[in-house]
């Protein structure tokens, strides 16, 4: 019965692939279909939040902070409700992380304020005594890259059908509209902040990296 396959290594390999692929598909797909849908209320990131996310990735925050609350009581006691896969529907790439040098950030938006984040990035020890986190003072000097963030938002809208510009979802619009929306959003964050340097830069029309990062962190909830 298998003599023919034994004599044809190529078709034998195809057969092996088919068997394993079938097994994988029936085990993975049904659960994936069920849980990968966006949780109700999950929205794509706004342009400012995306810019903050890029800062988060650029400065490797995910090397020490994870964004995945596991379903164990000790975890949920400290960090809140465990994470559901549907909550990451618009994360490209996801930033789960496995290292917990710092606490989990999945629900940080509900439990920290803009002001707290500002202190934390400027001088971590001032809010967490004994913290080994380095200070990220350059975030108060560098401008956030809004254009790249807009390009990313437009890309995920066109390629992955992220639901921008739909009812109850964030507006994206044209580049100019997006820039205006970013300024409005940033104004709220800047108003909550203390740094005069950042406030003055914002009056000149510049958005510092820290503003975008705080917008992103406030979004995590």
């Amino acid at each position: 019965m298998f003599h023919w396959l034994e004599r044809n290594p190529f078709f034998f390999a195809v057969g092996v692939f088919l068997v394993i692929a079938y097994a994988g598909a029936v085990t993975i797909l049904p659960d994936f279909m069920e849980t990968a849908r966006p949780v109700v209320g999950t929205k794509p990131y706004t342009v400012l939040e995306l810019a903050g996310r890029q800062v988060y990735i650029k400065d490797s925050c995910n090397a020490c902070h994870s964004q995945l609350i596991r379903p164990f009581k000790s975890e949920t006691d400290r960090y809140g409700m465990y994470s559901l896969s549907g909550e990451y529907a618009y994360d490209r790439p996801f930033l789960w992380g496995s290292k917990r040098t710092g606490p989990d950030l999945m629900r940080v938006g509900n439990y920290r304020t803009s002001d707290w984040h500002e202190y934390h990035m400027l001088e971590p020890k001032s809010v967490v005594p004994g913290s080994i986190m380095p200070a990220y003072k350059h975030m108060f000097k560098n401008n956030a890259d809004i254009d790249t963030a807009y390009a990313e938002a437009l890309t995920v809208k066109k390629v992955f059908n992220a639901p921008y510009d739909q009812p109850n979802m964030p507006k994206l619009g044209t580049h100019e509209e997006a820039k205006k929306a970013v300024m409005e959003e940033a104004a709220l964050v800047v108003a909550d902040m203390k740094s005069q340097e950042v406030k003055e830069a914002f009056k000149r029309g510049e958005i510092k990296e820290i503003v975008a990062l705080i917008a992103y962190l406030n979004r995590l909830k």
Binding site: E6, P71, K73, T76, R78, T113, D115, V127, V128
Partner: protein, 282 residues
């Protein structure tokens, strides 16, 4: 632990024994065959580098058990244990349930020192990031709890107003009374209304009682806050006052203090934090 009490263990041991016995039997059979058997039977067409292969008939017993295993596996994965009845979140729910039962039975009637140590632990994880390890608010990053809940704090509230507690009657404005009257009202509240029931200025209590009318407009004659319309001062200085704040959240000067009503703190834990925080002022 008695290994045979568990069905899975018993089945595993039985299976292991069966495999051992079958292996011994089959190995013995083939060893004997290697010693005595002569080459016979029909050769297949293929010839691998000079080595031929017999055309062996499909062993019926093996074929049946092979198909049977596949059928059984399909049943096991789709309908039988474990996929049909196991979920990680289900395990989480069970873990939480059994933990909570244990917690409730152990801490049904906690004494003061238990509450204090439990409260300190919860405070360090949930409150210290903003209020500081010592509760002093870390240079104004959050409210300084080492004064909060004391007589001095009442005076400060009357002079500076009280913000952000989300009561239906709104925020308490600053400057309702002058500094001297504020002292008197604070003494009255501490002695007559709060659970502390004593004041550092007993001489001022009576004049405070006369001035109480200003406060009674919102907090009510008895200071109980008219059924939740304003802060209930009858629990001032007590853990319950802190528990109210934990449940309502607070809009502070630097941002929102979250509501701790997402289930991460049990009632006992809230009381424990309240007991610990109340103790900071003394």
């Amino acid at each position: 632990m008695n290994w045979l009490n568990d069905n899975v263990n018993a089945l595993s041991l039985l299976g292991a024994a069966a495999i051992l016995i079958l292996s011994a039997f089959i190995i013995g059979k083939y060893l004997k065959q290697m010693k005595t058997d002569k080459g016979s039977g029909e050769l297949a067409k293929e010839n691998w580098d000079g080595i031929g292969e017999y055309k062996n008939a499909l062993p019926i017993g093996w074929a049946l058990s092979f198909v049977g295993t596949i059928v059984w596996a399909a049943w096991y994965f789709l309908a039988g244990y474990p996929l049909a009845s196991y979920s990680q979140l289900g395990e989480y729910n069970q873990e939480v349930k059994s933990y909570n039962t244990k917690f409730e039975s152990k801490f049904a009637n906690p004494d003061k020192s238990t509450l204090m140590s439990m409260g300190e632990g919860v405070f360090l994880v949930q409150c210290a990031p903003c209020h500081g390890v010592t509760g002093d608010g870390m240079n104004g990053k959050a409210l300084n709890l080492s004064k909060w809940g004391s007589e001095a704090a009442i005076v400060a509230s009357i002079l500076n107003g009280a913000k952000g507690s989300n009561y239906p009657l709104g925020e308490m404005p600053a400057g309702l009374l002058d500094a001297e009257s504020a002292q008197a009202v604070a003494a009255y509240v501490m002695q007559e209304i709060s659970v502390v029931k004593k004041t550092k200025n007993p001489a001022l209590v009576e004049s405070g009682r006369a001035l109480w009318a200003t406060c009674a407009a919102c907090h009510g004659e008895d200071g109980k806050g008219m059924a939740g319309s304003a802060a209930d001062l009858s629990v001032y200085g007590d853990a319950k006052f802190v528990v109210n704040v934990l449940g309502m959240g607070k809009k502070g000067m630097i941002g929102n203090m979250p509501k701790f009503n997402d289930g991460r703190l049990t009632n006992v834990q809230k009381t424990a934090v309240g007991t610990y925080v109340s103790s900071l002022a003394k």
